[in-house]
């Protein structure tokens, strides 16, 4: 486990952009309270693939972005479990199609809510609010 500290929104974006290169799985679970930088981290990952329009998926639950010109991935799938109580409803939405597709990079916010149902190869990233307003502690 490596611990990172970021001191601005921009640094959290940059960290996401940097860490994506080291991912050895296509499933990333993000765990952290409201405002801890989960969406910002995913935006950073998106930046690495040239996706600029990532916004909060809270309302529609799952947003899918096309990844162009990349050997490893075709899609970035951004899921938000904020409103979920269980994994069953994610199956209705079609999560399995993406978890089983190695060409889809799946990033799941509030992954702790469905941890028991996620595959073993899921990599978890924990985000915490720091003491200072813009500080975030990110454990990978």
């Amino acid at each position: 486990m490596i611990k990172y500290t970021t001191n601005s929104l921009n640094e959290t974006l940059k960290l996401g952009e940097k860490l994506v290169k080291n991912f050895d799985t296509n499933i990333i679970g993000l765990i952290g309270e409201l405002g801890s930088g989960k969406t910002a981290f995913v935006k950073g990952v998106g930046q690495y693939f040239g996706i600029k329009n990532i916004t909060s998926p809270t309302f529609v639950v799952m947003k899918i972005y096309k990844i162009e010109n990349n050997k490893k991935y075709n899609n970035l799938v951004h899921i938000d479990c904020y409103r979920f109580e269980d994994y069953e409803s994610l199956i209705d939405i079609g999560i399995k199609n993406y978890l089983n597709d190695k060409k889809s990079l799946v990033l799941i916010e509030w992954a702790d809510k469905i941890k028991d149902s996620l595959p073993k190869e899921t990599k978890y990233i924990k985000l915490k609010l720091g003491k200072k307003e813009n500080e975030r502690i990110i454990n990978t």
Partner: protein, 336 residues
């Protein structure tokens, strides 16, 4: 022309019947069955529960509506964006009714329908002179500014880069333990407050050159101030609501007015749940009036999700009406 509208993109199951003759709109039926009380305890909408309730709700409201299908011309239905499991119920219902009664089906974009909610109560908008107009959709899932050059012509000129404005209301309400949905309660508590706004919440991206907005940073600023706060009392919560709402209204009015000036529009049209916010309406109207730009807001009952606006959008999309459209599929990420 009589159009039946069907809406199920989120937690409202709704049916409406409109009659439109010589640019006059008559709302013959407008029935909404909301699940907001069911979802309150979860602090938001739970998709699986929402879909199940749509199935249960549509049959009673269809019965209540007593629609004479012989007398309708078209069926309009929301096919996106929204929760896929919720959208599917409305789309399948509409496809079935259209098939059984052999009526043409019109697929409707939910965001576009929020814009057309203004036509339900402003007959003066039935006019090419309405354009160019600025159409602003602000709700739990959307924060979009469109330049509308004519009916059906939209150019997205600004949007949120993170959270939707209604989502920020919901999440701030959660931070302050005020329950769900956040909009009405925060607005009410803000009105209770008499005093200065000394919390100085940020106005993210307000002075950026484009028309994009950000509400996530504002949410986080509220979170940090609230976390450091001791001795909560009723007045302090009111103050937080007041200061948060001030920041939201400042950013929205600033961006909307700037866009209206840049694109030299004649009208500003608001739509979506957050367009019910009175402070926003007053602030926007005051600024726009000074510039000679007209502002239009839907009636309060047409700001949230409803099917009357779907039927209204159906009227302006009647060219897309198709019989036996079995291939129509819900699209959760549909864009305008």
């Amino acid at each position: 022309m009589r159009i039946l509208g069907i809406e199920s993109s989120c937690d409202e199951s709704a049916i409406a019947l409109l009659e439109i003759k010589n640019n006059k709109v008559k709302i013959l039926k407008n029935i909404i069955s909301s699940q907001v009380n069911i979802h309150k305890k979860y602090g938001g909408i739970v998709p699986e529960i929402a879909a199940r309730h749509h199935v249960e709700n549509f049959f009673p409201i269809l019965k209540e509506a007593k629609i004479n299908f012989k007398k309708i011309d078209n069926i309009a239905v929301t096919y996106g964006p929204g929760l896929i499991t919720s959208l599917m119920i409305g789309v399948e219902l509409a496809k079935t009714l259209a098939y059984v009664y052999q009526k043409p089906l019109i697929p409707i974009n939910h965001i576009e329908a929020h814009i057309y909610s203004n036509w339900l109560s402003h007959p003066e908008l039935f006019n090419k002179k309405t354009f160019p107009a600025l159409a602003v959709v602000i709700s739990g899932g959307h924060t979009n500014i469109f330049l509308m050059k004519n009916y059906g012509q939209y150019q997205l000129i600004g949007q949120t880069v993170d959270d939707a404005v209604g989502e920020a209301y919901d999440k701030v309400a959660k931070i302050l333990n005020l329950g769900y949905p956040g909009g009405p309660i925060i607005s009410k508590r803000a009105n209770n407050y008499k005093g200065e706004d000394d919390l100085n919440f940020p106005r993210p991206m307000m002075y950026a050159k484009d028309f994009n907005m950000s509400f996530s940073g504002l949410k986080t600023a509220v979170l940090y101030k609230a976390r450091a706060e001791k001795n909560w009392n009723k007045k302090k919560i009111d103050k937080y609501c007041f200061a948060f709402q001030n920041a939201v209204v400042d950013v929205l009015t600033h961006k909307i007015i700037k866009a209206a000036q840049e694109y030299k529009v004649k009208n500003i049209l608001l739509g979506g749940g957050v367009s019910a916010n009175n402070e926003l309406r007053v602030a926007l109207k005051t600024k726009a009036d000074k510039l000679g730009i007209k502002t239009h807001f839907p009636k309060l009952k047409h700001t949230g999700d409803n099917a009357a606006m779907i039927a209204m959008a159906g009227y302006f999309n009647k060219k897309r009406a198709k019989k036996n459209n079995f291939s129509l599929m819900a699209d959760a990420n549909l864009e305008l």
